[in-house]
């Protein structure tokens, strides 16, 4: 029996994950009123590219948490609001003993650099990578990464370290059958400080397909093929990227006709091809044990992108740096238009730090900058927002047994005294230095 459109409609209505009568008093309940109060406290203003950004969201963020957390958060927010662009802002009321990260490459700027410099550095790194000995590639991939992030600009992603001035370390294993296991320390934010959320993934068709995209043994070393692979990206459940109705949101029509959508978007827009290449190359280099030829080709793809000089996709030779773990490195910046950071943000800067001897990625950090994409970021013009420091990437024989972890207490807006909460015990197993509350600024 063929399905009729009427039947399909009925099934779809029954499949509605949120009934029409859900949240009947959402606007009037305490959470809803708190959000409204915070929104009204923000200044309504005419749209400008900068004003249409997202600074005011921080105001309502302040309202949501309670107690000590609010005070700590307010301090952090004050930093971002009052000192965006400062490389090491100092704030009254800030807990002693830490400062915010400065952009790692700030101290070694050389503003005369042009894109050919970046391409030349990337080609040198490619040559160094090609000279390295082969490494085991499987069967299981293992990566340990230390991360820091302010996360003020990602309200959907602040379960890791929203209020954190501390670092988090994650341990992850991926197997060819699509299974995975990982856990990470949590310094604050959505969970009680010191808890260690555990994630386990069972094999599925999608996870196997995703593993295949990342599989270092199957990555092409041919530059053109690898470039296509990067642009295509890993398979997701939602082709097109967002699953949120992508593709029809740029224009909005009302009674008076159709107009550009008045929500935060960068103008000019980032180059999607270069964004995909940089993002996916970074993804592979952060977490895969790569054959030397593939690593070299990845760096050559980046070098070609740098040399191309596409509009709104700028590569910058940022000179020599010392990375967050104290290693000597060379830094390449990738800068694209983006106004979604702190006030006055005009561009987003991704700084990739490489080991000049091997071409391996040591880490990356992202920052929002007050200069336009294409103009060299002066010292202090960028506010770092987060970084990943690669601690270890290698192949192992199997995913280890999952550690026994206590249940993860989740923070909610009504959870008082977050910082005074009891801390979880670190898991037994192959996780050195799982201190419950990692300290200090990155």
């Amino acid at each position: 029996v063929k399905t009729t459109t009427t039947t399909a409609r009925q099934l779809l209505r029954e499949g509605n994950p949120v009934p029409g009568d859900a949240f009947p008093d959402a606007a009037r309940d305490p959470d809803g009123r708190a959000v409204l109060t915070a929104i009204l406290a923000a200044t309504p203003q005419a749209a400008t590219p900068q004003a249409a950004g997202r600074p005011a969201i921080r105001n309502w963020k302040v309202v949501v948490p309670a107690g000590a957390m609010t005070a700590a958060l307010a301090g952090l927010l004050a930093v971002m609001l009052s000192a965006s662009g400062g490389s090491q802002p100092v704030v009254a009321g800030q807990p002693s003993g830490f400062v915010f990260a400065s952009l790692i490459a700030d101290r070694t700027v050389h503003p005369t650099a042009d894109r050919e410099d970046a391409a030349a550095v990337l080609r040198q790194l490619a040559a160094a990578a090609a000279r390295q000995p082969a490494v085991p590639l499987g069967p299981v991939e293992y990566a340990q990464v230390k991360s820091w992030g302010l996360d003020l600009n990602r309200p959907l992603q602040y379960d890791l370290s929203y209020v954190s001035h501390e670092t988090s370390t994650s341990w992850g294993w991926m197997a060819p059958d699509g299974s995975s296991m990982g856990y990470y320390t949590v310094p604050g934010g959505r969970y009680q400080p010191g808890t260690i959320p555990l994630q386990k993934g069972a094999p599925t068709a999608l996870s196997r397909a995703r593993f295949a995209w990342y599989d270092p043994a199957r990555l092409p070393a041919d530059i053109a093929a690898l470039r296509r692979h990067l642009i295509a990206g890993a398979p997701t459940a939602f082709p097109g990227g967002t699953g949120a109705g992508s593709g029809s949101g740029a224009v909005m029509c009302d009674d008076k006709g159709c107009h550009p959508l008045p929500v935060p978007t960068a103008d000019p827009a980032p180059d999607p091809v270069t964004n995909a290449i940089v993002s996916n190359a970074l993804d592979l280099m952060t977490r895969e044990p790569l054959p030397p030829a593939v690593r070299a080709s990845l760096l050559r793809v980046l070098a070609d992108s740098a040399a191309q000089g596409r509009a709104n996709a700028h590569f910058i030779d940022m000179g020599t740096v010392t990375d967050r773990a104290g290693h000597a490195g060379v830094a390449i910046g990738y800068q694209a238009p983006d106004i979604s950071g702190p006030p006055d943000t005009r561009s987003h800067l991704e700084v990739l730090v490489f080991d000049p001897a091997t071409g391996a990625l040591l880490g990356d950090e992202d920052a929002y900058c007050t200069n336009r994409a294409g103009s060299y970021p002066a010292a202090g013009s960028c506010t770092p927002e987060g970084y990943d420091q690669v601690l270890q990437v290698k192949a192992v024989q199997a995913i280890p047994a999952a550690p026994k972890l206590p249940p993860v207490p989740r923070w909610t807006p009504t959870t008082p005294g977050l910082t005074a909460a009891p801390q979880a015990s670190p898991p037994a197993g192959p996780t050195p230095q799982l201190s419950a509350h990692a300290v200090s600024n990155p």
Partner: protein, 173 residues
Amino acid sequence: LYERHYGDVLRYAARRADAEAAAEVAAETFLTAWRRLDAVPDRHPLPWLYVTARQVMANELRKQERRQRLGARMQAEAGAGAQAGRAGPAEPAAGRLDVLAALATLPANDQEALRLTEWEQLDHVMAARAAGCSAAAFKVRVHRARRRLARALDLQASPGAAGKLVTRIEVHP
């Protein structure tokens, strides 16, 4: 505006993201409205709010992909159900998986057209505004989408196809 439509926007977001994220999206949508009050249509503001909510979600998900790659990938592999402690929409009943899986196979514009009409219960004129096209174009789109959904449900019933379809909804952002 807030009292009348906050619940609508919250439901719209919760149908496309987990409950926690939905609250963030709804709040940011109304913040945008507050900051761009002159752009919000006096009559029928709901489509404007839906478009804004959709764009807020797209922006956030784009940035989410860019950062915390390790965590993001682990989360994706682990699937939505394995995210410790995270509040999300209720796990779909087995029967609902079929239609949601079939929906997920349609082009993004078709999916949104069906959600706007069947879940958000907008009429064609309002839904067209939310979709950013003319009412005539939307009418064509939604009719086509219904046919495609019916075909996808039939395909799902055929041996060998169901597994492929279901994999499309294993991970929800």
